[in-house]
């Protein structure tokens, strides 16, 4: 009798463990960015067809409009800075259907290895930078906005340029009337 009960308990525990492991695998599979390296069919999550090497299109063969394609999964409202960038001229970065900045102007949706010869970068910060943001900057944000924020260091943000250089793709400092001021490189405008 006791042996039978033990076997039932063991089976129940094994089934529970197997189910949990399966959930983890499904969660992992849900991220098309990481899984597209090995599975070409994942491309069709966002693209209508898999573009061939060198093949281009103003719509990037995307399922939705380029300006909205990422928003099916990602929430733009939790990314500070997104709202002030979206709608600006994207040149020289890739833009949406109107040539304006979209998520993929700064971020490359494809991890390294998917598109030949393309390098993608992550957000690598030193401990000192992290401490400064966590101790000084985030409390300031919290005070102003009444909301908390966190730094996601481990997250793969897939940037088109290195983390410490991506701003300089469009922004520069110029000397005007003896004073250095922030400036857009390509649209001839103040940064602020």
């Amino acid at each position: 009798m006791i042996i039978r009960l033990l076997i039932i308990a063991l089976l129940a525990f094994s089934i529970h463990t197997l189910l949990l492991a399966q959930d983890d695998e499904e969660d992992e599979e849900e991220n098309p960015h990481t899984s597209m390296v090995d599975d070409e069919f994942v491309c069709l999550d966002c693209h209508t067809e898999v573009p061939k090497e060198g093949q281009t299109s103003p719509t990037y063969f995307l399922v939705d409009a380029p300006s909205e394609n990422c928003l099916g999964c990602h929430d733009e409202t939790t990314h500070p800075g997104s709202k002030l960038h979206l709608g600006q001229d994207a040149k020289p970065l890739p833009g949406d259907e109107n040539g304006k900045i979209a998520c993929f102007s700064c971020h490359d949706p494809h991890p390294e290895g998917v598109i030949k010869g393309r390098t993608v970068y992550n957000s690598e910060m030193t401990d000192r930078q992290l401490q400064f943001i966590e101790m000084i900057v985030i409390p300031g944000l919290k005070e102003e906005l009444g909301t908390n924020a966190k730094v996601e260091t481990e997250k793969e943000v897939l940037l088109r340029e290195p983390f410490n250089k991506i701003c300089a793709t469009c922004h520069e400092t110029i000397k005007y009337r003896g004073t250095y001021i922030p400036w857009y490189k390509f649209t001839d405008m103040y940064t602020y």
């Binding site: 990314h79 997104s82 709202k83 000192r128 900057v137 924020a149």
Partner: protein, 207 residues
């Protein structure tokens, strides 16, 4: 006919002058506006460039667009958060430029950034502040030091090269004993006991 020609010539002259007026403005300089006075606009990336590189600080340290806000936001809140991320709060600047706890590691003169000092001047620092500041200073001495260094007070209160009375009358040295005996605690409002003992020790001015 002559009159009409004159009117046309006059109108053309006015139009030409108006066009010249426009060109002499900002448009002639490529649409570049004048430098604003807002403290956020006074920041020079060029001045800070070498310091930031030396400290190993990237753009995202001051402009934290790499943080993730908790909870979904409304569009208005998102725009506010974006602006806040682009224009860092005073805590970010003050960490180096005004840090009473740890000490400044960068120039701490308020006017370095605050061109319009009236913006940061407390509301009670109005026209009558000179005569009433003592009450506030004695009530909470640390409140002065939120903005002023102790030297700022001493520059006036310890000066002896002006005929104006800062604290005590000029002949106070000779009559202070009367007031001190009447209310000994009053001296202690500003002075340590060692200040009195400097003179009133045995063998000194012991009367």
């Amino acid at each position: 006919m002559m009159k009409r020609t004159l009117i046309i010539a006059y109108m053309a002259l006015v139009a030409a002058l108006a066009a010249c007026g426009t060109q002499s403005g900002d448009d002639a300089q490529g649409g570049k506006p004048k430098m604003p006075l807002d403290v956020k606009m006074n920041y020079s990336h060029e001045v800070h460039k070498s310091v930031m590189e030396k400290e190993g600080f990237d753009c995202f340290v001051c402009h934290p667009v790499n943080v993730k806000l908790e909870d979904e936001k409304s569009i208005e809140e998102t725009i506010k958060a974006s602006k806040q991320a682009f224009f860092p709060g005073k805590e970010t600047c003050h960490f180096c430029h005004y840090n009473p706890q740890a000490g400044n590691i960068a120039p701490g003169d308020c006017s370095t950034c605050h061109f319009n000092m009236a913006e940061i001047q407390p509301k009670n620092h109005n026209f009558n502040w000179m005569s009433k500041h003592a009450v506030f200073a004695k009530a909470n001495e640390e409140s002065c030091e939120n903005c002023h260094s102790p030297r700022f007070c001493e520059d006036c209160h310890k000066r002896r090269d002006l005929p104006t009375i800062m604290v005590h009358d000029r002949n106070f040295r000779f009559i202070h004993g009367i007031e001190a005996r009447a209310n000994p605690r009053q001296c202690g409002n500003c002075h340590e006991i060692t200040f009195c003992n400097t003179c009133h020790v045995k063998g000194g001015y012991d009367y």
